[in-house]
Symmetry: C2
Subunit: 162 residues, 2 copies
Amino acid sequence: MSIVFKPIGLIHTPFQEPEGVPIQGALRPDLEGRVDIFSEFEEGLKDIEGFSHLILLYHFHLVKEHTLVARPFLDDTPRGIFAVRGPRRPNPIGMTVVRLIRRERNILHIRGVDMVNGTPLLDIKPYFPDIDAHSSVKLGWMGNKLKKTGKTTNADDRFLNE
Amino acid sequence: MSIVFKPIGLIHTPFQEPEGVPIQGALRPDLEGRVDIFSEFEEGLKDIEGFSHLILLYHFHLVKEHTLVARPFLDDTPRGIFAVRGPRRPNPIGMTVVRLIRRERNILHIRGVDMVNGTPLLDIKPYFPDIDAHSSVKLGWMGNKLKKTGKTTNADDRFLNE
C-alpha cells in the first residue's frame, strides 16, 4: 500500500531552519519566497499566471517520526494530530495558500511563505473560493485563538523535538 | 528524492467509478460518505469532533499516468495541470474540504464527497477560515464558470482516458 511521490520543485524562503518560521503563512502575508519548478514540469505551469492564489502541497522533509498527539502552538493541551496543522503527521504533507506575484518561466515568485528553505514541492493547485472558502465553521479547540494571536507568532522547536 | 506515504484510511462514497462523481464536493454538499481510519491511527482523531470542516488529502489512486496539460471540465481549452484541479497530476494528490457530521470511534461521517469509493486517505487537517479562506481572488481561465455551472456537474471519463 505504499504510495511513492517525487518533488516537482523546491520552495525557497528566508528560513534556514524551522525555528522562526511563521506558524501560518496567512499571518505574515508579506513574506516573500520563490518556487523553482524542475524544468521537466514547466509545461504544467501554463495558464497559472491568471491566478492570484495558489495552494501549495509540500513535504515536511525535516520530520523524522510522526506522532498521533501533539501540542499545538496556540494551545497547551495535546491534541490529536488530525485536529492540528503541525508537521509531525503520519504522512507529513504541508499545505499553504500563497499569493502568486509573478512567474518567470519555471520560477514562481510568491508571498505568504511558511516553509523552511529547500522544502520539496509536491503539487500546486489553483485556489477557487467557491470550492475552498467556507464560512460558518466550527473551530473546536482553536476557537478564536488564531484571531487573537496577531502577526508575530513564529514557530519554536516544539514540533520537531517534542 | 522519492517520498513514500502510506494510507491512513479509506474514503467510502456512493461512487464506484470516476464517471458521475461531482467535479467538486462543494457543488454537492449533501452527498454523504464515510472515512474509515485504520485503527493504528485512531488516537490521532482526538479532538476532531469539535470541527465542522475538514481538509482531506487523498491519493487519486486510479491515475496511471500524469499529463502536463489537461482540458478542465469547465473549459474546452487545454490548461497547465497546475492551473486545474483534475487528478492526472505528477503527484496525484486530491484535496477536498468536507463537512464532519459525526465521529464514531475510527469512523468519520462526512458530507460533500467527490471521490471514488475506496480512495486511500493520506491526511486530515482541520479547516481554519483565517488561514484557508481567501477573498479578492483572481481566477484566471476559470473566471465565473464555476459559479454558473450549478449543482449538476458530474465528471465524465475525461481525466482518466484522454
